[in-house]
């Protein structure tokens, strides 16, 4: 568990999430967790392993299988000033909780001044042979919903820092943690208490020839692809996909004049539509090539390895998309 890993040790993305939960619970009694099988079992992916032992049943609550119910209940607890952190077993099950998220959590502050500080953790994404019900990237359904904040860490540091910031935040935050990154991404542990601010994007790689705008799993894919292409690529890691850090995107495109939007959500959902609309309206004069989109087709995530591997943006397919953009 994270407690045993020193600040300079190398930890996984998953361990960074666990450590953020543990540190947040140590720092603030109002923080408690609820979700399915998160107690003794430690959650479907083991993110909450050990937390029951340290914090007890009142703060690590196994719930019945009732996403709509326990997300609604978390909102009620947040109304009373608690800081609930909900774990959905898979992000796909967020469909069952759509109503309390968009109807109750998102609108309440705007129409009453009552803040709703909930965090909803959503294990998201494909590449894990999960098939159509356990591999989705449903963040796009919430992009554009006033009152929600949506964060998608693409690094170990942000996995920790964005979760700490989400739990501190007085607004409802959807936190999309990528399942494929859980054990594949490794880095030095960020300092205890580190916060990644909600809102600002980061420049994951600076470059002059083209911009990749991406988030979540796209960050490591884009970094690897950038190393393969003949051109100096800048990578904008959005970190927060709603509300969008428009300025960082626009500034990068002003410099590079070429842009590729990369996402794992199917091409007509995710954040891409909003980003491309922004670029069409605000970057038109700066572009030397049509804005490009690299994203899966408009289908659910398929199961068979032959299908899923072709569906997901890979390092190679992303490099090819970049080559095309640079050659235009």
């Amino acid at each position: 568990m994270s407690a045993e890993i020193g600040p300079t040790g190398s930890i996984t993305y998953l361990e960074a999430i666990s450590a953020a939960l543990q540190d947040a619970m140590r720092d603030d009694d109002r923080v408690f967790l609820l979700g399915e099988d998160i107690g003794a079992f430690g959650g479907a992916f083991g993110v909450t392993t050990g937390l029951l032992d340290e914090f007890g049943e009142a703060r690590v609550m196994d719930t019945p299988i009732a996403e709509e119910g326990f997300v609604g209940a978390a909102i009620g607890a947040a109304w009373m000033g608690e800081r609930p952190v909900v774990e959905l077993q898979f992000a796909d099950f967020i469909t069952c909780a759509f109503d309390p998220i968009v109807t109750v959590a998102a609108k309440t502050h705007w129409r009453s001044g009552q803040s709703i500080p909930i965090t909803i953790r959503c294990p998201t994404g494909g590449g894990v042979r999960g098939g159509p019900f356990h591999s989705g990237s449903p963040e796009g359904w919430f992009v554009g919903t006033a009152g929600l904040k949506i964060v998608c860490p693409g690094t170990v540091e942000d996995a920790y820092g964005l979760l700490r910031a989400a739990i501190d935040d007085p607004d409802p935050v959807l936190y999309f943690e990528h399942k494929r990154l859980y054990r594949t991404l490794r880095a030095d542990a960020p300092p205890t208490g580190h916060r990644t601010p909600i809102g600002p994007a980061a420049i994951a790689r600076a470059g002059d020839d083209a911009t990749v705008v991406t988030y979540g799993s796209g960050v490591s894919t884009a970094l690897a692809a950038a190393a393969l292409v003949d051109g100096d690529v800048e990578i904008v890691d959005l970190r927060t996909i709603w509300p969008l850090d428009e300025q960082t995107i626009l500034t990068s495109i002003e410099k590079t004049s070429r842009v590729l939007v990369l996402q794992e959500a199917s091409r007509s959902t995710g954040a891409a539509g909003v980003i491309l609309s922004l670029i069409a309206r605000r970057s038109f004069e700066h572009l030397d090539a049509p804005p490009a989109l690299h994203a899966p087709p408009d289908t659910p995530v398929p199961f068979a390895p032959e299908l899923e591997d072709g569906y997901m943006p890979s390092v190679e397919s992303t490099a090819a998309a970049l080559d095309q953009l640079l050659a235009y």
Binding site: P64, G69, V71, A73, G76, W79, V104, R111
Partner: protein
């Protein structure tokens, strides 16, 4: 048939009876006034009333202590008054004024008062059930002797959230109180076409093991007595409680609905004998208040409605330039 006075209820003292009468009168007179304004075209949107159900709103509202919290629906105006809302607050919300409880961003009965522990109404039936289960969970976690209440119509009993919320409240054994407004209809659909067993109290006890009692929802004393007992059981650690209050919706679903689907004479016959305002007036008469005193209470409530309207009409309209303020408690940097 003559009006049936509220039954004697020793647990409800004289001051409480007078306060209940003030609350049911305020709801009745406010709603009559806002309906008239609507017909004059002076209220945007629609108007929902709780005519026939005022005793439930007043009795349940008065059953709460100041630190308790509540999430009322459309039919519970008197509950808002019990929690300290003024007639001006509510008129401002109907008019969509800048200084309304929702800043002009929502209308009619869609409002709350966070500072008074009143959650702003959410339309989607059933949403408030898990919400109060969660508020009650917060009280239990912190060891606070507080209670969270919400109201539900029959319609909510076909919605999945209601099951999830009642189940969570029961599994967690939290201090939540559910008050069911059984008024025989959901919009135009009679209750028998929504459920096979129309005894909702029985369903709540049988289905979720939440103690549930039926009460005459037109008898304000009985409602206060029964709901207060439920609230105190919840407060004392006996888990969630429910009360099903039986009444008849004396108006259509909303101002635009003439309720022609209800049998002829049903509402009139009901009102003759069970109008909750007049039942309480008759009780007060039996208690020794003379007609002069009772008329004085009616006049005072009417004056409160008049004053609230006058005040609300002066309130400024919202400024469209402020529309995007407050989307977030902490706007991202």
């Amino acid at each position: 048939m003559p009006i049936e006075p509220c039954a004697e209820a020793p647990s409800v003292n004289a001051d409480e009876r007078v306060e209940l009468f003030r609350l049911v009168l305020l709801q009745r007179l406010f709603e009559d006034r806002v309906m008239a304004l609507y017909r004059q075209g002076r209220v945007p949107g629609s108007v929902y009333t709780g005519r026939g159900q005022e005793a439930v709103a007043a009795g349940a509202g008065l059953a709460l202590c100041p630190d308790d919290v509540v999430a009322p629906l459309n039919r519970e105006l008197a509950c808002h008054f019990a929690r300290g809302a003024t007639t001006a607050d509510v008129f401002r919300n109907f008019f969509g004024k800048a200084t309304s409880p929702t800043f002009g961003r929502d209308g009619n009965m869609h409002f709350g008062a966070p500072a008074q522990g009143v959650f702003p109404l959410v339309s989607m039936l059933g949403d408030l059930v898990p919400l109060v289960a969660g508020a009650a969970l917060a009280f239990k976690r912190r060891g606070e002797r507080r209670v969270a209440m919400t109201f539900l119509g029959e319609g909510a009993f076909s919605v999945g959230d209601t099951h999830e919320g009642l189940n969570l409240a029961a599994v967690w054994q939290v201090p939540a109180v559910f008050v069911i407004q059984s008024n025989r209809y959901s919009y135009s659909t009679p209750v028998a076409r929504q459920m096979v067993n129309t005894n909702i109290a029985q369903r709540i006890y049988g289905g979720w093991s939440i103690p549930a009692e039926r009460v005459d929802g037109t008898d304000a004393l009985a409602v206060l007595d029964t709901v207060r007992a439920a609230v105190e059981r919840a407060r004392n650690g006996n888990g969630p409680q429910a009360v099903e209050a039986l009444s008849v919706r004396m108006h259509g679903h909303a101002a635009h609905d003439d309720a022609r689907y209800m049998p002829d004479g049903m509402r009139e016959e009901f009102a003759e004998r069970f109008d909750p305002v007049e039942r309480l007036a008759a009780r007060l008469a039996l208690d020794g208040f003379d007609s002069h005193a009772i008329q004085g209470m009616r006049d005072a409530a009417l004056a409160e409605v008049d004053a609230g309207l006058a005040e609300a009409e002066q309130a400024p309209a919202p400024d469209p330039a402020t529309l995007e303020n407050g989307v977030y408690a902490a706007p991202p940097s």
